[in-house]
Symmetry: C2
């Protein structure tokens, strides 16, 4: 990515632009890695929330898609697609809506409790559908998933016995890797041994895991180290952001999504204000470097976005050689691209030598 000349683009700001060349490159590179290592790829679509981009991932060989919420599955998946809902089917409407989807597509759901298995089985029976279940194992994040091999067994047995659900395998999410990026190998080795232990236990009870699904962009290119993993579910890799850059997982050149903002005030000495605030960028800090502000300004790498209010971004420019002027447009790479995309109604799709096109963020705001 190269800094562009002042006042580029004609659209109103703030706005998110996707570089199609970088998006396609990010898709292909991970697809190639997966193929080379005998891994299946099931991208998490929470990052882009767009059907058109999910299609590009599928066209490049992805075996299906991953979503978090049922409403995302309803918008992003289509008949005949293989969709994994990496989220417990708990709540008044989740299991029934998933069972409805399972009538015309392969629906797989992660579970970590007996209640989830019972709700999903009952709803699948009512819809006369079959839903595949993956037992979630917590590999260190401490969020969802059972933490011991032994705790997976009663869940796997219950799935085998319950009507209209199918035991598909195991799901893990090494999301805690953000916090231990200096020792990436170690947690992955621990994951490997936990999986080994679990699969042996299941095998002794006549149970098999056809799918062992792993995830996360930071660990994506280390996935071959986890022997039993059959598929990966990275999301952020499609665009990347300052989390993945500063975490050392990619470079600025791999960042496909950029917020274009306009300088709207220079009234305070040593500062300019841009029209991108927390309703554009989100207040997410950069996990591996919390003191770097609210995003990276491509044209002014020494600038710091020190404070966001709802529609204002305060930028400390005291360390910059030149001063952005009022009306100037700048390029911000967000810290966390997922909430940023979710804040946009639409984004701009940029391809060299072609007109910009506007793309609707299909599943934006689908939180149920």
């Amino acid at each position: 990515m190269v800094a562009k000349k002042r006042s580029f683009y004609d659209f109103p700001t703030p706005a998110l632009v996707l570089d199609s060349v970088i998006v396609r490159d990010n898709i292909q590179r991970l697809a190639d890695y997966a193929t080379a290592n005998g891994l299946k790829l099931r991208p998490h679509t929470k990052t882009h929330k767009m059907r058109a981009i999910a299609k590009m991932q599928l066209d490049a060989g992805a075996i299906g898609v991953t979503v978090a919420k049922v409403s995302e599955a309803e918008v992003i998946s289509s008949p005949d697609l293989d969709v994994l809902v990496a989220y417990p089917p708990i709540g008044r409407s989740r299991a029934p809506r998933l069972a409805t989807l399972a009538r015309d597509r392969t629906v797989r759901v992660a579970v970590d409790s007996m209640a989830a298995i019972e709700e999903m089985s009952a709803a699948a029976q009512a819809s006369n559908a079959v839903v595949g279940l993956l037992v979630e194992i917590d590999v260190g994040m401490g969020r969802t998933g059972v933490s011991k091999s032994s705790a997976t067994l009663p869940l796997a047995i219950a799935i085998e016995r319950a009507p209209n659900v199918r035991l598909d395998g195991i799901m893990i999410y090494p999301g805690h890797i953000w916090e231990s990026i200096d020792k990436q190998d170690e947690p992955l080795r621990a994951v490997d041994s936990l999986l080994e232990q679990t699969l042996e236990l299941w095998s002794r009870h006549g149970l098999a895991a056809a799918i062992v699904s792993g995830g996360s962009t930071p660990t994506a290119y280390q996935s071959h180290m986890v022997w039993h993993m059959t598929e990966i579910r990275p999301g952020t890799y499609i665009f990347n952001d300052m989390n993945t850059v500063r975490g050392g997982f990619c470079s600025l050149e791999n960042c496909a999504a950029r917020v274009i903002a306009t300088v709207i005030s220079d009234a305070v000495a040593g500062q300019v204000v841009i029209d991108a605030g927390l309703k554009t960028l989100s207040t997410d800090l950069c996990i591996p470097a919390k003191d770097t502000g609210y995003g990276y300004i491509v044209e002014y790498p020494e600038a710091h976005i020190t404070r966001l209010s709802e529609e204002h971004g305060q930028v400390d420019i005291s360390g910059c050689d030149s001063r952005p002027v009022i009306g100037e447009r700048i390029t911000v790479i967000p810290n966390h691209i997922c909430p940023c995309v979710n804040l946009q109604e639409s984004v701009w799709w940029e391809t060299p030598n072609e007109p910009l096109t506007q793309m609707h963020v299909d599943a934006r705001g689908k939180i149920q």
Copy 2:
């Protein structure tokens, strides 16, 4: 607000519910204060982003509305309404779109630079409209606005001279009060003397400020201390949130907006996970109490929402007497209600003895 019994409401979660009784009470209380103190009220609609609620505020005596972005003005304001855009009209399309609106309604815009005055004047000329301008003075937040009385003079003179713009007065925003809540009176006294100084200076040059517009919910009920203020622009007061509660500006009973979430996992000891993450609540911390987590759980006041991922909220329940169970619904009062509302496609409007109704968030995502 009273904690409700387990599994209340039928709608899918997470979802935002507005208590209409509290909303109407919040509207009326501030309207009464404004009337009693001879202040005009021009609520900032960024908090609710809904035409129906703006109408309630107008019906209760508000003289007009405030918005941040032009796209909000386009959605929230209507012909014949008096709308203040508390934001510099800088950027390729802002001034022309404001000028278009000014053809059939009163549009007032805050400026803090010569560039803003020139852009607005040129656009208003092109649209054959007149736009009122308020010179923004920074009263301590260090965001937008000129910081010295003397710096307002050339701007005010330029407005008087420029075609198709009208000098309406002065705008201030005491948003920094969050950070000095233990000495509220002091900054307000400083504001008063800065305004006094500015108005005297203007008067010596034959300039008058018909409007002196102040703002912010925390300072709303101290507005009478600022002698020269003619109107106030609070936004958050309509719903309140944990910022205003923990800042000491209201009580939990004044919080009209609550996220209903479902417990989806209890796999980790001492913790439950709810289905409201940062795509529902936003990652905003509570400004006056940054160690209190990501919102307040009404039914479990000792619980702490310690971590948000996109669709998960991890809740530390080790300090709670009873443990929420899987499937149970809980009530969260968000730290910062403005980004939370902006994340919802629609909200539920609750009135005693009436069915819940769904309200669209009209200006959600309007960031341009």
